[in-house]
Point group: C2
Chain length 249, copies 2
């Protein structure tokens, strides 16, 4: 059994995690991220790419809003990758992605990403196994190229249960503030969940472990937000970021 | 001795090539390319990427002008890659390149290219051997990705002798219409020619033979133009391009 088998991985916070403690920690992390982003920008040496993947209603938008609430928006770009346009489809699958990789000093968030081209397109039958295998290689080369440019890459899979997803769809239908997010197609997509899980497992295996995926138990938003922001915090702390000093001349 | 050793490869047309015959052939090819480009565009299935590399004054600009003289400019894009900007340098070396890969139906010409990042940057000492080796892999993966998108890639090295180059520099100085092309730095660059040759040989070896380089003897423009346009013609003819037919519905 693969260690990436999503059917065997919990979607919930550990039993002993305390909700209010965790929320406090996440607040402190958000403040620390503000300072670290400032240094990242000032130093202009590293960049950060955060890839968020997950099924519909897994909480990608919410995570972005919460985790970067304290961070200077000038230093953070968010790019959502939706169904490709005709122009995008007339190029290779990384063309539209490459345009949005972060320059030095910046944090770039991908809300969905190049991984859709080895996930949804497989479920829909546009991408066969041989093409997917080829794309795994291309993706790995692409990401290693970014690493060499001092881009830190963090890849998160927001892992929710089918039950939690259904609950959230229901809320979207019932809550007028969430109605706009409701999409009848999502119900269709949910039926393909077993296939998605299989393809995700393959992605985690083939497009790791050098740039590993973090599988984030996401049924409870407070736990999801803590895991992502804490992972980011630790990565930024490792960089030894410093404000540049003026040179004698 | 490598088969790509430029010091062993002639820069001149074969002895038995007739100048006026060859020029006539090139004219006919230019007309054929016009028709083929039309089909390429109408069909919207394939794209073509032409990479032109060569030392200063090797005739890249002239080749573009001559070979595409008959082709609809709407179907051809030319992109020159010069010294990277600060924004470009803040990204990986393929970032600025990827933006200009051709969409289906288009012919894209790169006047210099991503190969500069394993050529001039090595000569100037910005790129060490390990980085170059890494970039060869990245470039191969990048180009294979384009192949999968039905992009035909043709890579030409315009091969001139040092004597011919000096002659052309002299013309740039003496001919008022060519003055603007004169750049004193080119004389400096010319001194590094042995290094360039070595690094070019490595490029031909490491970034072929799947997508091979065509080494074009370029001391005589009429021969250079024939070789490039004929190579392009043959490639386009192999694609079996057809105008799309209307569907019954």
């Amino acid at each position: 059994m693969s260690k990436y088998d999503l059917t065997k991985i919990s979607t919930r916070a550990p039993e002993d995690a305390d909700k209010s403690d965790t929320k406090e920690k996440t607040e402190r992390i958000a403040n620390a991220l503000d300072e670290l982003q400032n240094k990242l920008y000032a130093e202009g040496k590293h960049s950060v790419l955060i890839v968020l993947q997950g099924m519909d209603a897994s909480g990608k938008d919410g995570a972005i809003k919460k985790i970067f609430s304290e961070v200077n928006p000038q230093g953070v770009h968010v790019q959502s990758f939706k169904k490709p346009t005709d122009e995008e489809l007339a190029h290779d699958f990384l063309w539209r992605i490459h345009k949005h990789t972060p320059e030095r000093g910046m944090i770039q968030i991908f809300n969905r990403s190049h991984y859709e081209d080895v996930l949804v397109t497989r479920v829909l039958g546009y991408t066969d196994d041989a093409t997917a295998a080829h794309r795994f290689e291309i993706i790995n080369a692409f990401e290693k190229n970014l690493l060499r440019q001092d881009t830190q890459i963090l890849k998160f899979y927001l892992h929710i249960s089918a039950e939690e997803q259904q609950q959230r769809f229901k809320e979207r239908l019932e809550d007028p503030r969430k109605n706009w997010k409701y999409n009848a197609n999502d119900l269709e997509t949910a039926k393909s969940w077993p296939q998605y899980k299989k393809y995700y497992s393959e992605v985690f295996e083939k497009c790791g472990p050098e740039i590993p995926w973090v599988i984030v138990p996401s049924d409870q938003n407070w736990w999801k937000e803590f895991v992502i922001s804490n992972t980011l915090l630790q990565r930024l702390q490792q960089l030894g970021l410093e404000y540049p000093t003026l040179k004698p001349d």
